[in-house]
Symmetry: C2
Subunit: 245 residues, 2 copies
DNA sequence: GTCAAGAGTTTGTTAGGACATATGGACGTT
DNA sequence: AACGTCCATATGTCCTAACAAACTCTTGAC
């Protein structure tokens, strides 16, 4: 019965369940816990670590939600995760790339205040014709065009007039302004690139592009951002982990 | 302070937290709780329903994880969800369409035992050359070709020899056989259709197609199914809700 | 030998209580 | 008028405790 060497620090401000989850996650990524391995039962684990069972359960639940562990009543908890990639989080492409250590660059094509059209207004739940920021960017990685991104942000949410988006990601700007993104709805599909799009993405008219439409909400439930993005499918794929509860 | 009329049935086998979550979810979908509304605090809600606070929290947490509610410490819990579509669950396309009340039909193009090639073997974590079922299907909706699906299932997991996939979905077959899918890894992108693919999907060579690669794991952590699917992007889009924890 | 009943194991659900911490507004000071 | 402090509020974390339900394995009957 593999029982990883986890230790908790009670004087740390980091929640106990989170400390445990982090260490278990690391153990799985490092291969100390291999897929198929069963971990000790909750009661024993809690006892060994000097924690209560609910706290131990909370730690395990976090990893279950990430798709790294599965529980079965009467049986135990087993490792599933094939150590490929971390769960998709609510971050922007910019953050993703930056963490991956790749040379991401952004070109701002357009950045101005416009009147919201019907689609943007309905997605952002603002009145048609109201003031929204329009932001067109081209993202390149290692010199290669990767994504063409168009975003709308209600003027009431944030002022983008003096923000330099060649060095700052949109989500990064929100975080700095105290706006905490919590939920996003996404729709992913594909279509042919139009002439202007293809030129910017370094391809030809009619090339297939991956399309993503996204609306993000903050911790007050306000719609904060609506975007339509185009990706070059030969350079980008969208990865997710689904977990059944 | 909107406080929905929720009632719990203690003699029901359905967990209390789930009963509460279901009714809150319905209230949101029916518009009784509008986006932006704040619900009563956990302690009051628990008291009114005769539940303990942990149970009430569990109910709310379920909806927070679904992206329908957001919590803010010191402030309260608010409704986010724009009542568009339910969360993406770990179901197959067949289930999705069936629930949508559309006329989904399946044509089995190929269904045989083959030796696992390198890719399938590595995804399914079986030895290269070992026995796997190969299943090629064409899904049509309302008479229109929608998806071309290729799936591999290890022979050790399930015997597909006598299964009629024109009437049974793959996931449905797993459930009937006592295999419970828990986690799936997906990669979504796009490319041009090849000649044979385009013909089956009712288009032309070079048409853009949405591609999805998926590996599913059951509640023992076993890889159960690996599939590569092609979708017609004019008829299908992949929708998700991301939630930041 | 086969199958069913029962015991043991492990997660699932629920309760009740306590203290911590972030938020926002009220109030008072500068 | 602007700023900072304090307090009420609501969620976040953690604990102890108990019983329920699902699964596995062993035991016993036929």
């Amino acid at each position: 019965m593999p029982l990883p060497d986890v230790v908790v620090n009670r004087s740390s401000p980091v929640p106990l369940y989170f400390q445990v989850a982090e260490q278990l996650e690391r153990a799985i990524f490092e291969g100390k816990l291999a897929p198929g391995d069963r971990i000790a039962n909750e009661v024993a684990l809690a006892g060994d670590l000097g924690l209560s069972r609910p706290t131990m359960r909370q730690a395990i639940q976090l990893l279950v939600d990430k798709g790294m562990l599965v529980r079965k009543r009467g049986v135990g908890t087993q490792v599933v995760h094939p150590p490929i990639k971390r769960t998709v989080e609510l971050t922007s492409l910019y953050d993703d790339l930056k963490r991956g250590g790749r040379q991401a660059e952004t070109q701002v094509l357009d950045q101005q205040l416009v009147e919201a059209d019907e689609v943007a207004a309905s997605r952002l739940k603002v009145a048609e014709g109201s003031s929204v920021w329009k932001l067109d960017r081209l993202r390149t990685v290692d010199g290669e065009p990767l994504a063409l991104m168009r975003n709308f942000v209600p003027a009431a949410i944030s002022d983008l007039s003096h923000v330099d988006f060649t060095t700052t990601g949109l989500y990064e700007h929100f975080r700095a302004g105290g706006i905490h993104l919590r939920v996003a709805h996404q729709t992913i599909s594909a279509r042919r690139a139009e002439t202007a799009e293809a030129r910017l993405l370094g391809g030809r008219k009619g090339d297939p592009v991956l399309t993503m439409e996204r609306t993000s909400f903050d911790d007050s439930g306000r719609a904060v951002e609506y975007g339509t993005h185009l990706y070059r499918p030969d350079l980008y794929a969208y990865e997710t982990t689904l977990v059944d509860r």
